[in-house]
Symmetry: C2
Subunit: 408 residues, 2 copies
Amino acid sequence: MSGCGAETGLMSVDQALATIVDRVHALASESIPLRQALNRYLAADIHSEIDLPLFSQSAVDGYAICSNQSVLENSKFELIGEIRAGQDQNLQLENGQALRIFTGAKIPEGTTTVARQEIVTPLSPDQIQINIALEMHADIRDIGEELSRGQLLANQGQHLSVGAIAALAMAGVQQVEVYQFPKVAVVITGDEVAKSIDDFSTGKIFDANAPLIQAWFEQQQQNVNIYHVEDTELALQQLIQQLKQECDVILTTGGVSVGDYDFVRPVALAQGFQQIFWKVKQKPGKPMLFAEYQRSSGDFCYLLGLPGNPAAVFVGMQIYASTLLQALQGQPKLPNWFSATLKQSVKSDSRERFLRMYAYFEQGQLWVENLSKQQSHMLSNLMSANCLIRIPENQVLSAGSTVQGLFL
Amino acid sequence: MSGCGAETGLMSVDQALATIVDRVHALASESIPLRQALNRYLAADIHSEIDLPLFSQSAVDGYAICSNQSVLENSKFELIGEIRAGQDQNLQLENGQALRIFTGAKIPEGTTTVARQEIVTPLSPDQIQINIALEMHADIRDIGEELSRGQLLANQGQHLSVGAIAALAMAGVQQVEVYQFPKVAVVITGDEVAKSIDDFSTGKIFDANAPLIQAWFEQQQQNVNIYHVEDTELALQQLIQQLKQECDVILTTGGVSVGDYDFVRPVALAQGFQQIFWKVKQKPGKPMLFAEYQRSSGDFCYLLGLPGNPAAVFVGMQIYASTLLQALQGQPKLPNWFSATLKQSVKSDSRERFLRMYAYFEQGQLWVENLSKQQSHMLSNLMSANCLIRIPENQVLSAGSTVQGLFL
């Protein structure tokens, strides 16, 4: 363990997150087809352009009935035809008449109630009998009973989950105004990182960071460009110079500490980036850099520099990159931490720790269990981890303590 | 409300799910690149082909030291060179010598400990001083300390989450043996469903089901073919005849009840499908059909027939389609229900209900709050719902009761 926790004046995790939320400018919006909008965020309220349901319809397979008086047990009605879902027959029922009707079909004019088929006996091709007394207006879905035309259907900022997309589709929405998804470039630094199996040789390691980040974006239906760059100031400078003009976000891994070959920060500063913060009092991931560059157009390019250890990259993506990407999409919000109960005591540290743990429910209570192999160069416990838990600095955390976390 | 809950002999939700889990045959496996394997399941154990770490390496930027005795305060060492991450210099340190070393660099032969740069003063280009006493073997990540070559890295059945992919990549895994993802065809029935905005006319409705199902699969990095079919026996029969030869799963929406135009079940049976179950004691989604067809090759095509109401489709996908797809991928498991506490009392029914609710944490306790507009033709509460909650049949569920559910 390097005793770097002793370093003073570091920013706390909460301060770092609040800074991202306060500082980042949302991107512009764009109009895209609803079917391509999964996991995006609405940039404007949507008011319904239709009534929902769009017309009064039968809730069952049965018979539409017109009766000037209460429908008593064993009432008989003249059967004058049939209407199916999707049809529009412009029929008018008169007193004493009935029409065969199916679920979702438009309720004909004159209908006073609907009799579901289970309580009806057809007596002849032209006559039916209702076997039990029937209340008025039974089994009818009324026009607009869910939502009236002009009513608010979805708020600005609404996350377009699978369910939200279905609900918008049902209201006839085909196109949505959403925040742009940031254009992201990922820069993997470090001469030790083998770019491919052919590039592998003694002293090098297999790269977990590019696959991790690629999969993390794929999980959100996004692709990113990944660049590998050698540990020279010139190579990094040329790449940053190009990317700062093209991207909304540059995510780097490695080279962000104070080593002789840690070029990310000096290159970023030399390229005109303003440091927003550097170094967070956390483990893993202390030497994290957050900086911004303002283009002559007025737009910003943000640089999130993560340390190269894969555990630091994992935490950086789950906690910081997600907060940054949401803020860029008009959602300046802190992570929505859950609270859970520790199953075993956990060792605190002079820096706040993020531990990979296993969470499970028991009688409405969320418990979290520690996993071994938490060091920053180890990842294999991610096979069983399902959450990241915050362990505050310098505290005694016995079994039964309440902690905050995020599901993975 | 159609009083269909009164119907006797219906299968329970738990029975229906257990039947899927017991009955479904897993698909064969295939070998694919790790980078394309997000959210798939391993079909075989993976033993590590390398040690992790692959070689002993420095955990810090500092100096590799060779000392036959304890390193005391203000010890001096001869500085003989430098080694960076990714390099392999085949250097041999002798007693009294030191080498500049960086995080992740290979520990040279002869190293007894590492001094992090914060505790070292360079005295000249050839000499350094260690300012404080140093323990043996400090700040060294040992070869194989996370995992030895040949050790079990991941189990058959492992879900390939973002973290699991990163952990496998770090162990040099490039190709994985996973269960095939089922080939799925989606069949949307119902003449009332407008196929597009041009197809829209009075009596028709905007289709929520195709967008819902498409987004649901997209969330899991999968595409499906969606077919719209008119409500005639012939059209449905021709389509099923073709799909049963090509697909592992046919998902249908609508046309699965007992109405005069409900052709899914009769067509499936006529096409050689064996009914596994039909009708589940649940709301929404009672007239659900599950059937299988065995091809002459011995392979199976499963048909999951969901009712046409969008809420029934939503529940059907979250609860039943997910269980079916997992079983086909070698994971015959019931849903992993959480337990939570009801904030308000909830009305029970003669059938088990699935309610869309809002879940939130308070002091390690998960609470769920009811939402309005729960009817099966309504979806707008999915803008705020984040879970599906099971309300058992015929029970008094007061505030404070424990219920089961799934996050959305």
